[in-house]
């Protein structure tokens, strides 16, 4: 009798461990679909890796300034002087002599941004296929449905970021400042960025009935967010109007933390401030999407 009482949920409220299991169950459903299709994972990795290869290797600023192409006719400036001049230019512009490393950290944020943007898509499909309605007939808290989607986006993007980091290291990213702590700090920042961006796109998807709109919004925002950040180029070298955007872009904050931690580049704003900004960004958007889920997901 006691046992029967326990396994039938009469008041419709889940205890804390049961709440977390239901949340994980929802997250895991989407994750299972993801790792069941490794081809999609590979395809989504191609883009940042191509960027790394194209920009990082072909736009070889190091060669530009330190190679033999750089001299003034008539003046026979010794190569070593030129090299140190070039390195100073690079140091002053990028904060490091390795543009490839500079870009690699940007690519970590890139993959997180792009993956998180897709996290709303599955809600649209769940709604279309009736799965969302089925979920809503269970006593699972409405917020968990949303948090499950957000966590799914975050986990996917962090796993992809790890792969991009490994590839970047294999392609010659500078390892002088890399340590377990610096990687943890970087991924802490990436987590917050992923959480905030996933929340934003899950929020947009909550009311949307077709995935085309969702896709269009993601496409509208992804490249501007990327280029209006310090991913490819330092903000200080941008025109002022671009700087204004780049300076509030959470992508910039994330990358700054990553470059500070992984490459030892010095910035004027302390890392803690960047973390605070990202934390507020993630918390506010996360909270809004939970509150919206109570409103929207009741029918």
């Amino acid at each position: 009798m006691e046992k029967a009482k326990k396994d039938r949920l009469t008041d419709g409220k889940l205890s804390t461990p049961r709440f977390f299991r239901s949340l994980w169950s929802l997250t895991n459903r989407d994750l299972k679909k993801w790792y069941a299709a490794p081809v999609i994972l590979l395809i989504s990795l191609i883009q940042p890796v191509v960027w790394l290869g194209l920009f990082g290797k072909a736009f070889n600023f190091g060669n530009l300034f330190t190679g033999s192409a750089f001299n003034i006719p008539g003046l026979n400036i010794p190569q070593s002087v030129l090299n140190s001049l070039g390195n100073t230019v690079l140091m002053n512009t990028f904060g490091t002599t390795s543009y490839f490393s500079f870009l690699a950290v940007g690519m970590l944020a890139f993959i997180v941004l792009f993956t998180a943007m897709m996290s709303g898509m599955s809600i649209v499909w769940d709604r279309r296929l009736g799965f969302l309605d089925k979920l809503l007939t269970t006593p699972v808290p409405r917020g968990s449905i949303v948090i499950g989607k957000i966590l799914n986006g975050v986990i996917r993007s962090l796993v992809q970021a790890i792969i991009v980091l490994v590839i970047a290291v294999l392609l010659g990213m500078s390892l002088t400042h890399v340590s377990a702590t610096s990687i943890l700090i970087t991924f802490g920042a990436l987590f917050l960025l992923g959480f905030g961006m996933s929340s934003l796109f899950v929020l947009l998807a909550l009311k949307s009935k077709d995935w085309q709109t969702q896709m269009a919004i993601a496409n509208l925002l992804n490249l501007p967010l990327l280029f209006m950040s310090n991913a490819f180029f330092p903000v200080s070298a941008m025109p002022s109007w671009l700087q204004a955007v780049a300076n509030i872009n959470p992508v910039s904050f994330t990358i700054e933390i990553g470059r500070q931690a992984l490459l030892g580049i010095q910035y004027t704003t302390p890392m803690l401030y960047n973390f605070l900004y990202l934390g507020i960004f993630a918390a506010v958007l996360g909270a809004i999407s939970i509150v919206m889920s109570w409103k929207v997901l009741k029918g």
């Binding site: 419709g12 239901s22 169950s25 089925k134 007939t137």
Partner: protein, 332 residues
């Protein structure tokens, strides 16, 4: 005891479309109660309101004593829902789908794993439960949905068009599973359908619903009896001859309708009236070329009460799209 009590329940969409218009009814514990009506009559909206997916515009309902407006979570915990669509995730196995739903109900894994195996046995999916749902046939998927709907051992099960799109053979099999489930788990079932045979063979009581209103509630037998008698259709070789008044004089004939050489008669008993009719027509020098006798079906009941056939459809495009998707999967 009434397990569902509905009072003046209405749903108005966009301030003007009355999907459900002040319906009131009750469902007794242990019965199979069916909503019969065409697409767009308000069946699915009613189910969605009773399962807390859609908030009613006016009125209230109690499911197992819990208000669908004020005690949504209690309602959710005590009911099982099998929606019209196939909602199981195609990329997961049948077992994993059920396990996830059990998690959402907060059922401990130790209990749920055992329970799912039991339920899979009940619907004969034990051998297939570790396979991805994408490989299932339409009938298997419907059975899986039924099993998943029972994962929280609900006291009331809501079935929305449980055999939509299935072929006749599979449909009969699904009916048998539903009956078995009802007996094994001692449940009350609320179902909607637009298949008359389904309402007839499964339901203890039927509510005929049309344009958001309940027109009649009764058992299938009483509904059929209420329109009175059997139907004889016959054809006579001479299309110009009007035998209407002649045929009407035969004992037991209630009404006669003529369409050219074809006649449709409502009679008290087809077996006794038919020979007399043939004899009479012969004696007038004509020949009966075709003859059929039918007991009243729910189709005729439906026609009688709503003035239209069940085949006429009127539904929103997204509903129709969802329905077509269901039918397509059913036939796979």
């Amino acid at each position: 005891m009434d397990i569902i009590r509905v009072r003046n329940l209405s749903k108005v969409y966009n301030g003007k479309v009355k999907a459900v218009n002040k319906i009131s009814f009750y469902v007794e514990e242990g019965e199979i109660f069916g909503f019969l009506g065409p697409n767009g009559a308000g069946k699915t909206t009613t189910i969605k309101m009773l399962t807390t997916l859609v908030e009613p515009t006016t009125g209230d309902a109690e499911v197992f004593g819990h208000s669908i407006i004020k005690e949504q979570n209690k309602v959710r915990a005590s009911v099982g829902v099998v929606p019209q669509e196939f909602t199981a995730d195609e990329d997961l196995t049948g077992f994993d789908n059920a396990l996830m739903m059990a998690d959402l109900y907060g059922i401990p894994r130790k209990i749920s794993k055992q329970r799912i195996v039991e339920l899979m046995k009940l619907v004969d999916l034990e051998a297939a439960m570790k396979r991805k749902v994408g490989t299932y046939s339409g009938g298997m998927r419907r059975r899986l949905e039924l099993a998943i709907g029972l994962v929280n051992h609900p006291r009331v099960l809501f079935l929305d068009e449980p055999t939509l799109g299935l072929d006749v053979q599979t449909r009969t099999a699904v009916w048998n599973y539903i009956k078995k489930m009802k007996n094994d788990y001692n449940m009350t079932i609320f179902m909607t359908t637009h298949y008359l045979e389904e309402a007839d063979s499964l339901c203890d009581r039927i509510a005929i619903i049309d344009h958001g209103k309940i027109i009649k509630i009764d058992s299938p037998d009483k509904l059929k009896a209420s329109i009175g008698g059997d139907i004889i259709k016959l054809a006579v070789n001479d299309e110009r001859a009007d035998l209407k008044s002649t045929l009407k004089k035969v004992a037991g004939v209630k009404t006669v309708k003529r369409n050219g050489g074809e006649y449709r008669l409502k009679v008290k008993s087809a077996e006794t009236a038919a020979p007399k009719l043939i004899e009479l027509i012969d004696s007038k020098g004509y020949k009966v070329t075709k003859l059929s006798m039918t007991r009243p079906t729910l189709d005729e009941v439906y026609l009688e009460y709503t003035g239209r056939s069940l085949r006429e459809e009127d539904s929103s495009s997204s509903d129709l799209m969802a329905q077509r998707r269901t039918m397509r999967i059913s036939r796979s």
